[in-house]
Amino acid sequence: MTLTIYQDDKSIRDDDTLFRRVHLKQIVKDEDTGLARVSSGAFKDKDLSVNIKSVLDGIGLGPEACITNRLNQKLVSLTAGEARRLNQAVCRNPLPENPSHGLVYGSKNARSILNGLTAAVNWVIPAKAPCYQDIEVEKRANGI
């Protein structure tokens, strides 16, 4: 078994934005506000895949490219600096079909890290937290 340890890449600036797709099944209801929120379960991968905005910019793509043809996905973001403050390494991991692919790498077992990541993310598509009812309607419409 090969164990890969990723190093933080300082060429990714702290203010660079990292996009992460979120499946509708990972969006839950905040019953106090009626708004949708992203479950902490969406951020548990040790090597959390993201798309790096500066790379997307360089190839002329916007954030919507991250969820093109992905019916059941929404898009959220956090900055590289926020990830680093939570003891995560941020690195490039380009794939042939996705040159902007990167990783937020590190253990996310500690609750402080998981809560920090969950709190740090901003909605991108849609631009703000939707009513959970709208998410539920979409889930039903998509048969999930």
Partner: protein, 166 residues
Amino acid sequence: MPRSPRALTENQFDSGYEYPETSSAALTRVPKAFVISTREKFNRFVVTTSELPGWVEPTISAISSIQLLGENWDSYGGKKTSDDLIKLALSILTQIMPVNAPVPSVVPLGDGGLQLEWHRKQQDLEIVFPADTTPTFYYCKKNSGVETEGFATDFLKLATFVGSIS
């Protein structure tokens, strides 16, 4: 072909297959027990209860829907949710949930685990069933900032927290 929940009898409920033909009222007429099973019918949980709690049907429906997710369901290589973990999650729920308990959100995890969670009454409660480690819980009371973590086998604590959000 995957199927959704259906009533087996008026006091039994099978999580894997077809919705009941009538509403849940049909299930709540005189039930003394209900059965929750996953795809393998021989793995059933029988819980004796004076009534079918309101959280059961929507929870089973949510669990059934995550059972239908295929490999790579999240586009990041997400694995199918393990039937064993579903059984474990249901087993724990039946031991900690009062009749009036609110329905949990059922969230699949990328590693094939699942998570049950509630965010209400200024409290967060999450019960996490990872694919390869011991299930745990996390509770937070936002107003006081009190946070508690532990193993999901601590039914007494979990029941207290579920009671607090009910």
